[in-house]
Amino acid sequence: MSDVIDRPLLEEEKTAPTRLRIVDCDVHPSLRSTDDLNEFLPKRWQQHLKEFGSHLRTPYLFTTPYPRSSPLIARRDAWPPTGGPPGSDLAFMQKQHLDPLDVEFGILQVLDLFIFSQQNLEFGAAIQRAINDWQLAFWSHRDPRLKASILIGQDGVDLAIAEIERCARIGEYIQINVSPRANEPLGRRRYWPIYERAEALDLPLGIHVGGYGGHAPTGGGWPSYYVEEHQSNAHTIAAQLASLVIEGVPERFPKLKIVFIEGGFGWIASAVWRMDQHFERFRSEVPHLKRKPSEYVRENFWFTTQPIDEPDEARHLRALIEWVGIDRLLFSSDYPHWDFDDPRFAFKAPLTEAERRKIFSTNARAVYKF
C-alpha cells in the first residue's frame, strides 16, 4: 500500500528515464485490424476468418474474453490518438512506453485472435504463421528494440515443428511461445518434440498465461466473476509447472529454458515446497526424476514479475522474491493492459542496486542472450 502523495513531482521524476535500462518481457502489440494480416495470410484462410471466425474452446455462446475490467483489458490512457486498439500504433507505444521507461528490449507477446486457443489446427497454424511474419514486418523491423516470438499451437505438433523450423531459418525470433492451456497438461509426452526442438535451437519456451483450453480454468469449475477468474491464472500456471517438472521435461531436456509470463510469482514458493515434500514421500511413483522438483525449477524456469502480489508490508514482498530467487525473476510491464506495472513504482520491496539490475535487465539478457 502507498502513502498519500502530497508533494509536486520532482522534475526528474517526470522526465528522467530510469538509470537502469530495462528489458520488458511482456509487451502486447495488437493488430490494428485483421486486414493487417492479409499480406501474410493465404486467401483461403482470409476467407475462412471472415466466414467462420475463431473456433474457440469456451463453453458458452458470446463469451469473448473482452472487455475484462476495461475495454480490451487495456489501460484507459493507452488508446492511440490515431485510432485503433491499444498496442496497435508503434509511434504511440514508443512515446508512451519504450522511450520514457528506457526499455532496451521489449519482448512481444501476441494474444490477438486468441491464437493459442484455435481448435481448427490448420487455421490456427495459418494465423500463427501470419502473425509471426507480422511481428517482424510491423514491429521488430521498425523498432529493433522489439523482439518477436515464434507462436505455435502445440496440439498440432507436426505443424508446430514446421513453423519452428521456418522461423528458426529466418533467425530473428528469440523464443517459442506455446499455449498456457493446451488440450492436455504441458508436460505430456505428445508435446515433447516441440521441447526437443526448442532445446536444440537454444530458444526459451515462453508460456504466457491466458486464453482457454476448453477446460474450466479452475479445478472447481467455471468462475462467475472476472476477479474470480483472474485468480485462476496463478493456479493454472502452477499446475503447468508441476506437470512439466513431474512428467520429466527438464529431466529429459536439461538445457531447455522455460519462462512463465504474466503468472506472477507469489505462488511459486508454496508450489515448490509442496512438490519437494511430496517428492520425498512418493519418489517411487516418479523414478524418472533424478532430483528434487525445486532443483529443476531453479535451473530451467524463469518467471516474469507482473502481476506482482502486493502485500501490505514491503518486507513481505522482499521475502517472496528471495524465496523465488532473485535470479529467477524477469521484469515485465504487460503494457498496454490494465494491470500494467510501471518499473519505477512496481517494486515496493527494498532491493539493492545489484538486485534491481538482475530483475530489470541482466536475468533476461542471460535467458534471451541479448
Binding site: S70, R75, R76, F340, F345, A346
Partner: protein
C-alpha cells in the same frame, strides 16, 4: 494557501476534466453534476494519470444480488489498476485510512468578482459574463 484561477467554467464541460499546472503540481479539475473537484493528477499506487480515470458511480450492494448506484460520476477508477477514489475528497474506496489522492479546495467565482492583478493572465482573459474555476493550493 494561494488561490489560482485555472479555467473558465465553460472550458470544462460536464463529465470532462482539465489538467493544470499549479505551483509545480500536476492537478486535474473535474466537472461533475455542476460541481468542480481538483485532485493531484497521479494515482498514489503507481502514478497513473487520473485525467484518464473513468468517472463512475458509487456502486454498493447491501446483500448479494442487490445493487445500488449513487453519486453518479463522482467516483474515479484509476486508468491502470482500477483503484477507486472519491472525487470529492480523494479518499480511496478500499482503504480510506491509508490511501488517498491529495485533493484541493475549489471555488467558482464570476469574473467581475475577481480582483484585478496577476490573475488577469494572458491565458485566461477575464470576461465579465463568464465564471472561473479557482483552485487553492
Amino acid at each position: 494557501m494561494a488561490r489560482h484561477i485555472v479555467a473558465s467554467t465553460s472550458e470544462i464541460p460536464p463529465g470532462g476534466n482539465k489538467v493544470v499546472d499549479v505551483a509545480g503540481r500536476d492537478i486535474v479539475v473535474f466537472h461533475v453534476n455542476g460541481e468542480f473537484f481538483a485532485l493531484l493528477n497521479r494515482c498514489p499506487h503507481e502514478g497513473a494519470p487520473l485525467e484518464k480515470a473513468a468517472c463512475v458511480a458509487r456502486l454498493t450492494s447491501p446483500e448479494p444480488g442487490v445493487y445500488e448506484r449513487s453519486r453518479v460520476g463522482e467516483m474515479l477508477r484509476c486508468p491502470w489498476h482500477g483503484w477507486e477514489f472519491d472525487m470529492r475528497n480523494g479518499q480511496s474506496w478500499f482503504d480510506p485510512k491509508r490511501v488517498r489522492v491529495r485533493s484541493y479546495p475549489v471555488a467558482v467565482a464570476r469574473g467581475d468578482e475577481l480582483q484585478k492583478g496577476p490573475y488577469v493572465a494572458e491565458t485566461f482573459p477575464v470576461h465579465v459574463e463568464d465564471s472561473y474555476v479557482i483552485v487553492e493550493v
